[in-house]
């Protein structure tokens, strides 16, 4: 299996604090990798290293050429003045498609598509951020605690939707606990701690 992103003995520190040490892993297409571990261990840093938002202090990172990334950031990072649908449409390859509305509807936000995200609740914003991540054409999909703030029904819907978008991608999922892995038991799941 060809790796899209390969980390070789990567180390990263912020000042005195070391968050990753001698970390090696290859992220291949059609794999779903759960990144687990206690707070502050460097899970988010790993995602940032993978997509190039951070540079390693030690080791090296290889990326296949022309890689496209998509990211559901931990803090949503939505454009506050835009509607939920406009936020999703921003990253769509085809701006005229109905994909934003479809994804939002699948995540239970059909009635909120035209609403400015600044008026949405935390859980609703989280789902908009997830819809945006799934709408972007990508080879590597990074999901940083995508289910935070969602109730059980919304979590189930979100997992179903992510499962439909796994094909052809390397997916990295920063998870709170093992519960989030359960819906994906039938998939090629890798756990990194």
């Amino acid at each position: 299996m060809d790796a899209l992103v390969t980390l070789h003995n990567v180390g990263k520190r912020f000042g005195e604090k070391r968050v990753l040490e001698d970390f090696s892993h290859a992220f291949a297409r059609d794999t779903l990798t759960f990144v687990e571990g206690p707070s502050g261990v460097g899970k988010t840093t790993l995602l940032r290293l993978v997509c190039g938002l951070e540079q390693p202090d030690e080791g090296r990172i290889e990326r296949a050429s022309g890689l496209r990334f998509s990211y559901a950031f931990q803090e949503d990072r939505l454009c506050e003045n835009l509607s939920a649908a406009a936020n999703v449409r921003l990253v769509c390859a085809d701006r005229a498609s109905g994909l934003p509305e479809e994804l939002l509807s699948r995540l239970g936000l059909a009635g909120h598509a035209a609403q400015a995200v600044k008026r949405l609740s935390g859980g609703e914003r989280r789902r908009v951020a997830l819809a945006r991540a799934l709408a972007a054409p990508a080879d590597v999909l990074l999901l940083d605690e995508p289910l935070t703030g969602l109730d059980d029904a919304a979590k189930e819907r979100a997992c179903d939707l992510v499962a439909e978008h796994l094909a052809g991608k390397a997916v990295l999922w920063v998870a709170h606990g093992t519960d989030e892995r359960r819906p994906f038991s039938g998939y090629d799941v890798v756990v990194v701690r």
């Binding site: 950031f73 454009c79 003045n81 835009l82």
Partner: protein, 261 residues
């Protein structure tokens, strides 16, 4: 918007009285002082001023002067807005441009307006003076406010744009516009007042024909104090009216831009 509407409906009677009484008190103080002094050449009464203003308003020259002064200042203000935003964007994109412009903007901010007026009179005709001066007053305000807003752009949103590979146009519409528009709106409101006052001051010194400044100067020379007061009242009324009109215009433009972003 709802709050705005509420404040408008609330203005009805109580709001109007609340706003009007301090003005009426000061007009009464003015009237009393004028009556006690009894020398219109030093202090005309409000009624004398109003009568002079009414007489002036019947002359074509009054309106011609207003249009000419307004036109010159408006051109300077518009130029300040356009160049202020364009150069702020260039300064945000390039540290070299920012460093290059910093001394100029600093000098314009620090120099007294009278120095500029006299200096500019050496270079341009008095007809163009108010345009140049109102530009010089407005430009640093727009430039500084817009640049500060751009520099305060949320780094996390820029990372988001980088990861998703958003185009420059998409970045401007989704991130920078919402960042800059409130600052631009505030800067325009502030700059407009400065442009208007400095533009009239420039006319008083440069004396271009058929302008408000020219008439203010004439009133002073001929000790026509009621005319001086009448022109000053006209300037204040125009200032308030223009500020409201421009603020409403910019606010509408901002809403339209945001709606299409």
């Amino acid at each position: 918007m709802d709050e705005h509407a509420r404040s408008h409906s609330g203005v009805s009677v109580r709001g109007l009285i609340g706003r009007a009484w301090p003005i009426l008190v000061w007009i009464a103080v003015w009237a009393l002082a004028a009556r006690m002094l009894a020398q219109p050449v030093l202090l005309p009464s409000p009624l004398q001023t109003l009568a002079r203003l009414a007489a002036l308003a019947q002359e074509g020259e009054f309106w011609r002067s207003i249009v000419r002064s307004l036109g010159g200042i408006a051109v300077g203000f518009a130029l300040a807005c356009v160049l202020g935003v364009a150069l702020a964007a260039a300064s945000y994109a390039s540290t070299a441009v920012r460093r290059l412009l910093a001394p100029i903007v600093g000098a314009i901010k620090a120099a007294p307006v009278a120095s500029f007026i006299i200096l500019v009179l050496v270079w341009v005709s008095s007809r163009d003076l108010s345009r140049v001066i109102s530009f010089l007053m407005g430009f640093p305000i727009v430039y500084t406010n817009v640049l500060e807003a751009l520099l305060a752009t949320d780094e996390r949103m820029l990372e988001m744009a980088q990861v998703f590979g958003l185009s420059t146009t998409a970045r401007i519409r989704s991130i920078y516009l919402s960042q800059v528009l409130p600052a631009f709106e505030a800067a325009c409101s502030l700059a407009l007042g400065f442009c208007w006052k400095a533009g009239i001051a420039a006319e008083v010194i440069g004396l271009p024909d058929h302008t408000i400044g020219d008439h203010l100067h004439d009133a002073k020379i001929y000790l026509d104090t009621p005319a001086l007061f009448a022109w000053t009242v006209a300037i204040i009324v125009l200032s308030v009216a223009i500020e409201r009109a421009v603020r409403a215009l910019i606010s509408r433009a901002v809403d339209a831009i945001e709606a299409h972003a």
